[in-house]
């Protein structure tokens, strides 16, 4: 049992009402992996004799990197035989607080615990996201992961797992260390140790806040209008064409490319590498095409431009730091 938690947040309940967790993240932030690690943890506990069962189920749209995704965990002392998406959630993990607000409070009840990846204080973020009077745990997982893992893109998943020990007291640092080792073994010793360090820091630096007695506002989520079969056009066709630009894929971005025009040599390599045609160019008076900026409405933040730039004129900045 860890010493840090003031009170144990959650005990695993019986099979009829399994403990449910949702991870709100964007593609490629490692939420699916973290959720699977959680399931491996339960498997480890099950091996020790105490019978536990767990599931980890991701839900994706059509796109991958950057698109908001959800991953659902169920944990129970009895065998889990259901596969539907849980409607009541005990823990809501927000890996990326830039995801549309409405969905984040979906399924929350009065004892729901939020675990949020942010560098703000728990109360600050709870008020900003209108999470209501609930318990909130925050950890600056993006910042910690960036420092510890030394990777180009941020992978906050293992850091958040560390903070999760606070919520589930039956997870221990020792157990978490072991699972991270077995999960990342193939990627080498360095990956294992850096992820373990990130996880420990996540546990140590997590901040708790009990907001149940406060007046933090609650944003009611209005469910979208349900379509009847006759509302859908024949063959599910769309009564407009050539409107792909209306799909603002810029909201999927976790990191933003910043262009330094003083360094830019206008080689247009970035323009060719861009998957979303988001490098804005214009023909100058000399008849040559010049880079003038980046279309943030459609840039998904894939950093392909950063990779190809021969003069290091573009660098990525986390989206949370640009506001």
């Amino acid at each position: 049992m860890n010493q840090k938690a003031k009170e144990p947040y959650l005990e695993i309940q019986s099979g009829k009402t399994p403990t449910t967790i949702v991870w709100h993240a964007r593609g490629n932030q490692g939420a699916v992996g973290a959720s699977a690690i959680l399931t491996s943890l339960i498997a480890e506990l099950a091996e020790k004799g105490e019978y536990y069962d767990a599931t980890s189920a991701p839900i994706f749209g059509a796109a991958k990197e950057g698109e908001p995704i959800r991953v659902y965990n169920r944990i129970s002392k009895d065998p889990i035989e259901v596969f539907y998406t849980p409607t009541e959630l005990d823990v809501i993990v927000i890996v990326d607080p830039t995801i549309n607000r409405g969905i984040l409070t979906q399924g929350a009840h009065k004892n729901t615990v939020y675990l949020i990846n942010t560098n703000k204080t728990p109360e600050e973020i709870a008020r900003e996201l209108k999470l209501g009077p609930r318990r909130v745990v925050t950890v600056d997982a993006t910042g910690i992961a960036k420092k510890e893992l030394q990777t180009k893109r941020s992978h906050p998943n293992t850091t958040i797992l560390g903070a999760l020990i606070l919520i589930f007291p039956f997870f221990t640092l020792e157990l978490m260390n072991k699972i991270i080792e077995t999960t990342y073994e193939e990627k080498g010793h360095k990956v294992v140790s850096t992820n373990q360090n990130a996880m420990i820091r996540g546990f140590a630096e997590a901040v708790e806040f009990d907001g149940r007695e406060t007046d933090i506002p609650w944003e009611e989520n209005t469910p979208p209008k349900k379509l009847a079969w006759y509302d859908i056009l024949p063959g599910a066709s769309i009564p407009a064409t050539g409107n792909f630009s209306a799909n603002k894929t810029g909201t999927w971005r976790t990191e933003r490319p910043i262009l330094d025009l003083e360094k830019c040599i206008h080689c247009l390599s970035c323009s060719q590498a861009c998957n979303d045609d988001s490098i804005l160019t214009r023909f100058g008076t000399d008849g040559l095409e010049k880079v003038i900026g980046i279309d943030y409405d459609h840039c998904k933040g894939c950093a392909a431009c950063v990779t190809v730039c021969p003069n290091k004129a573009i660098h990525m900045v986390p989206e949370t730091e640009t506001k």
Partner: protein
């Protein structure tokens, strides 16, 4: 009608299919030739050369390409026909399932042939059965005349705003596709009247409607997928009414046509034999001989397999002691073949008890079903009490196989 609207044309199923495609003023025919439906495209190409056919004929590099062309042309608002069969249908199966969902009223002419392996070019319904639940309307013709009739009906039924679904005209390979019989086709006056009735195809959500263009092929996620597919259920429910209207017009103005079921000596029968396609003649012959010996037996042919004429089958078979279903599609590890499943499914929960149902698999790969074999099946119907503990389909005429 007094004035004659037809001429006599001796021809096989493929010629009749091609003639119907031309008479219906089809815009696009896209094919990759495959035995036994090759001659459809050959006849159309010939009619294109002589100027009789005004539409486009495209021979592409494979069935998946041919049906993609059909699919796209239909989405642009063209009247489309696509002849193929067997391996060709399987190769293009992705498109054949997409057509109903995208609401493309393409007429698919399938000269039914068995599927590999072992490879076989002769008749059998195993090629069309994988598509029975794709959401398309399906006719099974009994002769070349019906291939012509159903192809003309198919365009009108499929393109009706209440339906908007592809229509399959299935005809047995070689037995219908290559057997020349004497047929009636519409003469100049008849074709003129028919084309007036068919009109031009007006697609509700066309890609090429310049004032209101539509995009197609969008993604539908769990929140609306069932609703999008439920539209097909609704469209399928409208088919019988439309089918009745269209066949009424055809019967009144040209000549009679069976569009749901065809019955033979069924009224006072105690036993019934049910089948589809070209073998109905054999069954009728056997029933005729059995009747001469005082047997109370009748025959029923399912004409529109999709939508399955449930109400008609229930009505016609109510009170029968036992029915035998002769299906030209093999099943392995399943209690019943596709046709038998549908007949048995139509007969469940009847207020005064359902007839006994027994499935038979016959005539696969062009094997001949003899009148004697059908007579034997009729005899076996009398011992239906013994079927209690066995619902397997019996394979007819298999050397040293099960006995009836």
């Amino acid at each position: 009608m007094n004035d004659k609207k037809y001429v006599i044309l001796p021809g096989d199923g493929n010629l009749m299919a091609a003639t119907a495609i031309v008479h219906a003023d089809t815009d696009v025919v896209a094919v990759y030739q495959i035995t036994p439906s090759t001659q459809v495209s050959e006849h159309i190409a010939e009619k294109k050369r002589t100027g009789e056919f005004a539409g486009e004929v495209r021979v592409l590099h494979g069935e998946i390409e041919a049906y993609t062309a059909c699919y796209t042309a239909s989405q642009c608002g063209a009247r489309v026909a696509g002849p193929s069969c067997s391996q060709g249908l399987l190769y293009a199966s992705e498109l054949l399932h997409a057509m109903p969902g995208a609401r493309c009223p393409i007429v698919i002419l399938a000269a039914n042939r068995e599927v590999s392996a072992p490879i076989n070019i002769h008749a059998g319904h195993s090629d069309v059965m994988p598509f029975r639940d794709s959401g398309a309307v399906m006719f099974f013709a009994k002769n070349a005349q019906e291939v012509y009739d159903f192809t003309l009906l198919a365009f009108k039924i499929g393109e009706d705003k209440r339906v908007q679904l592809p229509v399959w005209v299935n005809y047995d390979g070689f037995e219908i596709s290559h057997t020349t019989v004497i047929n009636k086709i519409l003469n100049e006056q008849g074709v003129k009247e028919l084309r007036e009735y068919l009109g031009t195809y007006e697609r509700p959500c066309s890609m090429l409607n310049m004032e209101h263009p539509h995009a197609t092929g969008g993604l539908v996620l769990p929140n609306a997928f069932m609703e999008a597919k439920y539209a097909l259920v609704q469209a399928m429910q409208n088919v019988p009414k439309v089918m009745e209207e269209v066949s009424d017009f055809y019967s009144k103005n040209f000549w009679p046509v069976h569009s749901f079921v065809e019955e033979y000596e069924l009224q006072d029968a105690e036993y019934a034999i049910i089948t589809m396609g070209s073998r109905f003649g054999t069954v009728k012959e056997a029933v005729k001989r059995a009747r001469a010996n005082g047997e109370k037996v009748g025959a029923l042919r399912i004409v529109s397999f999709r939508p399955f004429p449930v109400a008609k089958v229930r009505d016609l078979l109510d009170g029968k002691k036992a029915v035998a279903v002769l299906d030209r599609s093999g099943v392995y590890g399943s209690p019943m073949s596709p046709l038998c499943e549908n007949v048995a499914g139509s007969l469940i929960n009847m207020p005064f008890g359902s007839p006994f149902v027994r499935g038979f698999v016959d005539s696969l790969g062009g094997r001949v079903l003899t009148v004697e074999q059908v007579l034997e099946i009729i005899q076996s119907l009398k011992h239906h009490e013994r079927w209690n503990d066995d619902v397997r389909s019996t394979w007819v005429g298999v050397e040293k196989g099960d006995t009836i």
